[in-house]
Amino acid sequence: MIAWTIYITFIGAVVLLFVPCTFARWIALITTAVGLVVSLATFFCDQIDLAHFTTIVRVPWVPMLGMNYHLAADGVSLTLVLVTGITALSAVLFSWDVEHRSNEFFFWLLLVVGGSYGVFLSADLFLLFVFYELVIVPKYFLIATWGSTNKEYGAMKLTLYSFLGGTLVFIGIIAAYATSAKANIGSALDLQALAQFQFPMQLQSWGFPVLFLGFAVLAGIWPLHTWAPTGHVAAPTAGSMLLAGIVMKLGSYAGLRVAMNLFPQGFQMWRNWIAALAVVGIVYAAAVALRQRDLKFVIGYSSVSHMGFVLLGLGTANALGVSGAVLQMFSHGVIGALLFAIAGMVYRRTHTRDLDALATMGLSRTMPFAAFAFVIASAASMGIPGFSGFAAEITILIAAWKAYPIAVWITGVGMVLVAAFTLRALKRSFFDSGVALTGGATSASFVDSGGTSSVSSGERFEPITLAEKFGACLLMFTTLAVGLYPKLLLDRIVPAVEAMRFLTK
C-alpha cells in the first residue's frame, strides 16, 4: 500500500497538466493528503516487518542489466516517508495563494514530493538513483520561476550543486555495480542483496567517500553547503519547505542506506572525517547565522547547522547515534518546514525579510498567530525539551559522547550559538519595535511606540488564512507530539538501524 504514495503523487502531477488552473491547488491538496494518510496508515498498522528492509513490490525492469523495479520499507524509510507526507501537505497549504502558473507550480512541487517518496522506498540502486536525480530539475523551475531574491542565481547554484553530488554518486554507483555484476550475485543492483555483499577493500576505501560525499552535498555537509542558504532564500515558501523538509533528507538518507550499508569498512575508515565535517558544519553555520540580516538566511544556515547533527549521528556508527540521526532527519524536516513557513507568512504580508525592517513593525501585535508559531518553532529549533529537536539532538549527543567526546564539547558551543541566533531572529522579527513586554506598563509603552512607528503599525496586514493555520498547526503538532513521545518513532527506527551491518560492534 505504501507504494501508492509514489503512484498517487505522480498521477496527481500528470493530471495537473491537463486541468484548468482553478483546480490545481485542490488536486495538489488531495494528492498530498492521500499520500500522508497512506504513509500514516502504513506507519501505524505494522503490516510490514519494520526491523528489516522488507520488499513491497518487485518487478523486473531491465533484466539484461539486473535492474528491478523494487520497493522496500523498514522503520527508517517509513519515518522519512511520513515526514515527506507531512511536509508536502503543509507545503501545499502554504502555497494556497499561488496564482501565477499554478498548474506548473504544483506539477513541479508534486514531482519533488513523488521523487522523494521514491528515494525513501527504493530497494534497487538504479531505481533509487533515478528518483534521486528526478528531484533536481523540478527544484530549478520551482525556484527560478516562483522564487524571490536573486532567484535565478540561487536556482542554478542549487541545481548544479545537486547535480555535482549526483555525478559523484553516479561514479560510486557504477563502480559498485561493476564489481557486484562481476561477482555474479543474483541481482547486481539489489540493495537488500548488496547489503550482504562483501565489496573488496580497495573499492570500499575510495568508493565510500565518493558516494557519501555525493549524497552529503544534498544533506548540506560543510564545505559543500553553500547552495543551501542561497537556495532556500531564493525559493518560494513551499520550495524552501520542501528543500529543508525533504530534499536535504534525501542526501542523508541515501548516504545511510546506500553508502554506509554497501561499504561498511569504507565507512569505518572515513567516519572520523564525517564527524569532523559535521561538527565544523554545526558550529560554522550557527556562527554565520548569527550575523545574517535576512530572516530566511538565518533559517537557511540553521538548516545546515541542524543537518550537521544528522551527519554527526551517522558518524558515531552506533545504533543509538544513527537512530538519533534518523530522528533528527524527521525532526528537522518538520521544524525546518515550519520555520520557512513562518518566514513565508511574514514575507507575504510585509514584503520584506530584512530583520532591521521587521524590527520596526511590531509584528507580534499584528500577526499574533505567526508570532506564536515562531515561538514554538524557535523553541523546537533550539532544542528545548518537549519538542522533537531535543529528543533527537540529545540522542545524538549521548551517542557521540561514546565515540567522539571532543566533538560533543565543540557541539555544545554550537548549540549555544544556535540558541543565540534563534533568539536574535525571534526578537528582531516579532518582538522588537520598542514594545516593552514587562509588567503592567505594556499598554502605556505600546501607545508611546505607536507614535514613533505609526507608519508600520497603521497598516493592516491581511489576516492569516485558514490554510496557513492548518499547515502551521500540523507541523507544530507533529514536533510537539514527537518531542513528548519520541518512542513513537524510535520504536520503529531502532530495530531497523540495529539490523544494519556497519555498526561498530
Binding site: L65, L134, A144, L160, F170, I171, I174
Partner: protein, 520 residues
C-alpha cells in the same frame, strides 16, 4: 544468385531510390512553372496567392510521396528473410542491419516532417530527393560488411549531405557551411580510403569478417596501425569527434534546419553502426587497451583519446554559445565522445550500449531541430533570445524542448539518463580492475558541465521575457503571409519524438533486449 534474388533482397533500397526519382520528377514538372515566382517569394516575401498555392500543393505532394516511399521501404524490410549474405558481405541482411535500416528510414521520415513548411524551398522536389538519396546511402552503410561498399555508402551519404547543407541559396552561411563541410569531408574521405586500402593491401580481402581472421593470425605491424588510425580519422570526422569536429558548428548553424537535423541524426547513427562493425569485427584482434594501468597500443586507446577530447572540448565550448544550433553542434561533439565510450569498452555489451545511445540521441536531436525550425520560422532566428518566452507562445513546443534538452543532459526519467548509465556501466565493467575509470570520470564531469548550458536554454524558454509587442509587430508584418509556424502534423510528430525519448527512458528493456538479441 540471380538478379531477381538481388532485387528482392535489395528491395528496401530500391524502393527509396525509385521514390527519390519520382519525387525529383514531381518537383521538376510542377516546380518549373512556379520557380520564378517562388524565388521572388523568398526575396520579396509577398507572393501572389495563386502562385503560392501551386507551390504549396506541389510541395505537399512531394513530401507525401517521399514519406510514402519511406514507409513502403520500411515495410519491405519486414518482408526480407532474417539472414542473407550477398556478394561476400557487400549486402548483409541480419536483424541488426534491418533494425538500423528501419531507424534510418524513421529518421528520414521525421526529417521530412521537419522540412514541411520551410520557405526557403521553392524546389522541394530536389531537396527531398537529396534526403532520400542520403537515406539510401545510410541504408547501404548499415547494411554492408565489406570495405568497398562501406566506402560507397559513406560517399553517397556524404555527397547528398554536402548538397543538402548548401541548399539554401538565399543564405550565404548555408553556402559557407556547405563548402566547409565538403572540404573537410572529402579530406576525411581520402584518409579513410587510404586507410582502408592499406588494410586491404595487408590482408588481401575487403570483407570485414575475413579481415578479422587474417589480422588475428598476422603479427602486428606499424603499417597496420597507420591503416587503422587513418580509417578512424575518417570516421572521427563523420561522427564529429574532436579534433575532427571543426566543420560541425558551421554546418549545424548554416545549413537549412532539416539538413542539420539529418546530419546530426541519420548520418551519425549510421556512422556509429559501421564504425562499430569495423573496429569490433574487422579490427577486433588489434583492440589494444585503454585501461590506465595497462595501456596497449591499438584502436581502443585512439578512440579513448578521441572520446576524452570530444567530451572536454565539446562541453567547454558549448558553455559560451549564444546560438542554439551552434550549442547543439558542440554538444553533439561531446555526445560523440560519450558514445565512443561503448566502443572503447568493446564487446557485444559495449556495442549495444553505443547503439542504444546513438539511436536515442538521434531521435532527440531531430526533435530539438524540429523545435528550432519552428522558432526560426516564427521569429526569424535561432539565437538564444529568439527562444525567449516560448512557453507562453507554445506550451507544447516548450515542453517538447524541455524533454529533449533534459534527455541530452542525462536526467531521469528520460532516455538520455538510461543511455548514459548503460554506457558508463558497460565501460566500467569492461576489462579488469575498472581500467576505464579515468575516461568515465571525464565523461561524468563533462555531463555535469553540460547541464548548465542545457538549463540555460530551458531558462530562456520558460523564464525569458516574450519579445515586446512593438518588436513583434515589426516582424509580424513581414511574415504575415508565411505559413503558420507549426501545423498539426509537425506538432504531433514532435510530441511523438518527445514521447519516444520519455518511453525509452522509462521502459528501455524491450529496445535493449532487441539490440542485444540482434548483435552478431
Amino acid at each position: 544468385m540471380s538478379y531477381l534474388d538481388l532485387l528482392k533482397l535489395a528491395s528496401p533500397e530500391a524502393i527509396v531510390v525509385l521514390t527519390a526519382l519520382v519525387v525529383l520528377a514531381i518537383g521538376l514538372t510542377t516546380g518549373q512553372r512556379t520557380v520564378a515566382t517562388a524565388v521572388s517569394v523568398a526575396e520579396t516575401r509577398k507572393p501572389a496567392s495563386d502562385a503560392f498555392d501551386t507551390t504549396a500543393t506541389a510541395s505537399a505532394l512531394c513530401s507525401f510521396v517521399a514519406a510514402l516511399g519511406l514507409v513502403l521501404s520500411a515495410s519491405a524490410i519486414f518482408m526480407l528473410p532474417q539472414h542473407a549474405v550477398l556478394f561476400h558481405g557487400m549486402l548483409v541482411i541480419s536483424p541488426l542491419n534491418s533494425l538500423f535500416k528501419i531507424i534510418s528510414l524513421a529518421l528520414a521520415f521525421f526529417t521530412i516532417i521537419v522540412a514541411r513548411g520551410d520557405r526557403f524551398l521553392p524546389n522541394r522536389g530536389e531537396y527531398l530527393g537529396m534526403i532520400l538519396l542520403g537515406t539510401v546511402g545510410l541504408m547501404l552503410l548499415v547494411g554492408s560488411e565489406e570495405l568497398l561498399m562501406i566506402f560507397i555508402g559513406l560517399e553517397l551519404t556524404g555527397l547528398s549531405l554536402y548538397i543538402l547543407t548548401a541548399f539554401d541559396k538565399s543564405d550565404i552561411r548555408s553556402a559557407e557551411a556547405g563548402l566547409k563541410y565538403f572540404l573537410f569531408g572529402s579530406t576525411a574521405s581520402a584518409f579513410t580510403l587510404f586507410g582502408l586500402s592499406l588494410i586491404y593491401g595487408m590482408t588481401g580481402t575487403t570483407s570485414l569478417a575475413d579481415i578479422g581472421q587474417k589480422l588475428s593470425a598476422a603479427s602486428v605491424s606499424p603499417l597496420l596501425f597507420v591503416g587503422i588510425v587513418m580509417t578512424l580519422v575518417g570516421f572521427g570526422f563523420k561522427v564529429a569527434a574532436a579534433p575532427f569536429h571543426l566543420w560541425a558548428p558551421d554546418a549545424y548553424q548554416g545549413a537549412p534546419i532539416p539538413s542539420a537535423a539529418f546530419i546530426a541524426s541519420g548520418s551519425k547513427v549510421a556512422s556509429f553502426v559501421v564504425l562499430g562493425k569495423i573496429v569490433l569485427v574487422g579490427f577486433a584482434p588489434d583492440a589494444g587497451s585503454a585501461a590506465w594501468h595497462a595501456l596497449i597500443a591499438g584502436w581502443a586507446p585512439v578512440l579513448a583519446v578521441l572520446a576524452a577530447l570530444s567530451i572536454v572540448i565539446g562541453n567547454l565550448v558549448a558553455l559560451v554559445q549564444k546560438n542554439v544550433r551552434r550549442l547543439l553542434a558542440y554538444s553533439a561533439v561531446a555526445h560523440a565522445g560519450y558514445t565512443l565510450l561503448g566502443l572503447v569498452a568493446g564487446g557485444r555489451d559495449g556495442f549495444s550500449a553505443t547503439l542504444f545511445y546513438t539511436t536515442i540521441y538521434a531521435f532527440t536531436l531531430v526533435g530539438a531541430f524540429g523545435v528550432v525550425g519552428v522558432v526560426r520560422r516564427e521569429t526569424g532566428g535561432d539565437d538564444l533570445q529568439n527562444f525567449a518566452g516560448l512557453r507562453t507562445r507554445s506550451p507544447l513546443l516548450a515542453g517538447c524542448m524541455a524533454v529533449f534538452m533534459l534527455s541530452l543532459a542525462g536526467l531521469p526519467p528520460l532516455a538520455g539518463f538510461f543511455g548514459k548509465f548503460y554506457l558508463f556501466s558497460v565501460a566500467l565493467r569492461a576489462g579488469d580492475n575498472q581500467g576505464l575509470l579515468w575516461l568515465i570520470a571525464i565523461a561524468l564531469l563533462g555531463s555535469f558541465i553540460s547541464l548548465y548550458y542545457y538549463l540555460i536554454v530551458l531558462k530562456v524558454i520558460f523564464l525569458g521575457l516574450v519579445p515586446s509587442e512593438a518588436e513583434r509587430g515589426k516582424t509580424s508584418a513581414s511574415i504575415e503571409m508565411l505559413p503558420p509556424p507549426a501545423d498539426f502534423l509537425q506538432k504531433s510528430s514532435l510530441s511523438v519524438l518527445a514521447g519516444i525519448v520519455l518511453l525509452l527512458g522509462v521502459i528501455p528493456a524491450p529496445f535493449v533486449a532487441w539490440l542485444i538479441a540482434s548483435m552478431p
